[in-house]
Symmetry: C2
Subunit: 376 residues, 2 copies
């Protein structure tokens, strides 16, 4: 492996940026959407299929992997890439967010978090140092700082306390990460929807210095308007020459709005999870394949989509296998949703490169306003 981790902005259009992140495991075209591979698999997809949708990078979850099969075991088996057969870059989260949302009997101190596993009830501790160690054992290409994302609703005082703790943890994460050529460490901005706290957080992170900067603590129930309110200024507080990653976002229109505000990277379980529950994302909005109106419909989900679900199958078939609870339903709908998300990113990248992102956005919203194709 070469030592390089690098980000280059190749084009801007308004606040939107198109660029390339270079890692020893391959390039990531930005704006990039990262499918989530929680427990060593992007659910219902083979890695070659994930790559075929156009994904350059996937995300792995420290919390899930540390509990099962454990980071030490994955390390013994040659690291997460080999374990799950994904050749491209992998970003891992720090475990902090999911400890707060999934684990039981959490106890938060200055040092870190102790908790009980939701899998088998065993006790564990996550600290900035342990999170860095786990992400190193996994072989992550892009490592995230350990942070605390407070649950909503939270008072301003609570949000400020959590942000300042996260900034102290960011410093400890930076120190524990050390110098690992070819691997990147991203800081995470916190501060809820309060501008002063967001600015304070950005300054703290910049004074530590990271390879990239995430906007954390959004998409946790505050709503799109409040989220966009933060994104109207937050990316501008971060260094222009580093990637900006909006964590856990989102719906297609969230993603488009975030890119328009200067975000370069995103991840979300929505396309994969929705694939398993029969919610399908298309150019013309969301289609619920369970709906009886599809039962006799010979048309594909989207005639312009090149994914296997659209090329080879009718809505009637997809409706049937969803109703019959066949595994192929999750396989095909997940593939379609990931393909749609990657098409969306590719469309934005091309539009930004050609300076027509405003037009592209207008077309995007017009197709959605039109709605799904008429029933037969």
């Amino acid at each position: 492996m070469t030592a390089a981790f690098n980000f280059e902005v190749k084009a801007t259009d308004g606040k939107a940026r198109g660029g390339v992140i270079t890692t020893p495991r391959g390039q990531i075209r930005t704006p990039a959407f990262m499918p989530v591979g929680t427990a060593g698999t992007v659910k219902a997809m083979l890695p070659d299929s994930v790559a075929a949708t156009g994904a350059d990078i996937i995300l792995g979850n420290t919390y899930h992997l540390m509990l099962r099969p454990t980071a030490e075991r994955i390390d013994r088996l040659g690291g997460l890439h080999r374990f799950m057969n994904w050749r491209g870059p992998i970003l891992t989260d720090s475990g902090g967010f999911q400890v707060m949302s999934l684990a039981e009997l959490r106890k938060l101190t200055e040092d870190g978090v102790t908790f009980k596993s939701h899998v088998d009830g065993s006790r564990h501790t996550l600290t900035p140092e342990r999170s860095m160690e786990i992400q190193r054992l996994l072989g992550s290409d892009i490592v995230m700082c350990f942070d605390e994302c407070p649950a909503l609703p939270a008072t301003d005082d609570e949000v400020a306390r959590a942000m300042r703790l996260s900034m102290r943890w960011a410093e400890r994460s930076r120190a524990a990460f050390g110098d690992r050529p070819g691997h990147a460490l991203f800081g995470i901005m916190q501060g809820g929807v309060t501008r002063e706290l967001r600015e304070e957080s950005a300054e703290a992170l910049k004074s530590i210095g990271f390879d990239g900067y995430a906007v954390g603590g959004l998409a946790v129930g505050e709503g799109q308007e409040a989220m966009f309110g933060v994104l109207d200024y937050a990316p501008d507080c971060l260094p222009a020459d580093k990637p900006r990653y909006l964590m856990g976002v989102g719906k297609p229109d969230d993603i488009v709005g975030a890119v328009a505000r200067g975000i370069d990277m995103m991840d979300c379980v929505l396309p994969t999870r929705s694939g398993r529950t029969g919610q399908v994302f298309t150019r013309r909005g969301v289609v619920n394949i369970k709906n009886a109106r599809h039962a006799d419909d010979p048309r594909p989900l989207d005639e312009e989509c090149a994914c296997p679900a659209c090329r080879h199958y009718s809505r009637a078939y997809l409706h049937h296998v969803f109703r019959a609870q066949e595994i192929i339903s999750s396989m095909l709908l997940t593939w379609h949703n990931l393909h749609y998300y990657q098409d969306l990113m590719a469309g934005m990248r091309a539009a930004i490169a050609e300076g027509r992102f405003a037009d592209w956005q207008a077309t995007f919203h017009a197709a959605r306003a039109e709605g799904d194709i008429a029933p037969l």
Copy 2:
């Protein structure tokens, strides 16, 4: 489509036969194993992947498809091949066996069977004529006669009664099927484990005349020894120039023993169902991937297997995703099992063609006697 349905025996070695069935939708190399695609999908597999394992033909279940999404709907959508995106030949069963094993409130008369759907409780009737109609609507390439397979244990009188009813239904099936160039109708021999009844059934079927002949009523709990006892004489009662299909079989050693006794075609849910329950078939016997001894094992299931599960993943990974109930576990283990079954058939076809089937069988049994690779 051309009109041809044809079977040619190309080689024999002892009683074992190697040949080719030609259909308008493609050739079927025999001995052939047919993966089961119950409800319009070979569970957890995309059709291209099924074909990639080496399968020339798959099986569809009339009982499941008539209830959901219904044969009429599949017909309106262009037939089963287009519906499920399988380009090769499809054999459909008659519904008779599964009505007896799955449906509720069955009532059997000379005319047929009335029953309540296990899906939604709706009432249905299957007769020889309706079964032929459904299989025609599905667009099946190889259609099976409607028969009654009595549940075990059954008295000799009961087996004889069911066999004779099945022979009368075979005559009605033949009449209802009519003349459909390019489509084949197979008769089904019944008679349990009683030689006289099997011979009587074979004579009845031959006097009607079919494009192929199945041995039914085996693999229903009688045990391998009793099954092989019937197969020692039953195939010889059937025309040598037509394919012989052993329904619902079986484990790898059942399949090898059946081929050695002159069987050309088989089907079974075992490789697909076992793929979902973590039972893996290999040259060296069955591996239970759930077993903790695989948790740290970096070796593939079988180093000589070329399937994606063996080429790209460790036993440790397969153990992990099975334990975590990830869909990729069913996808990879089903693919491996189907690949193994097709490798088995290809090995037998080559051995028969080269007149070394006895040696091949000895090697097959020796590898299994050796057992799975030693724990780490």
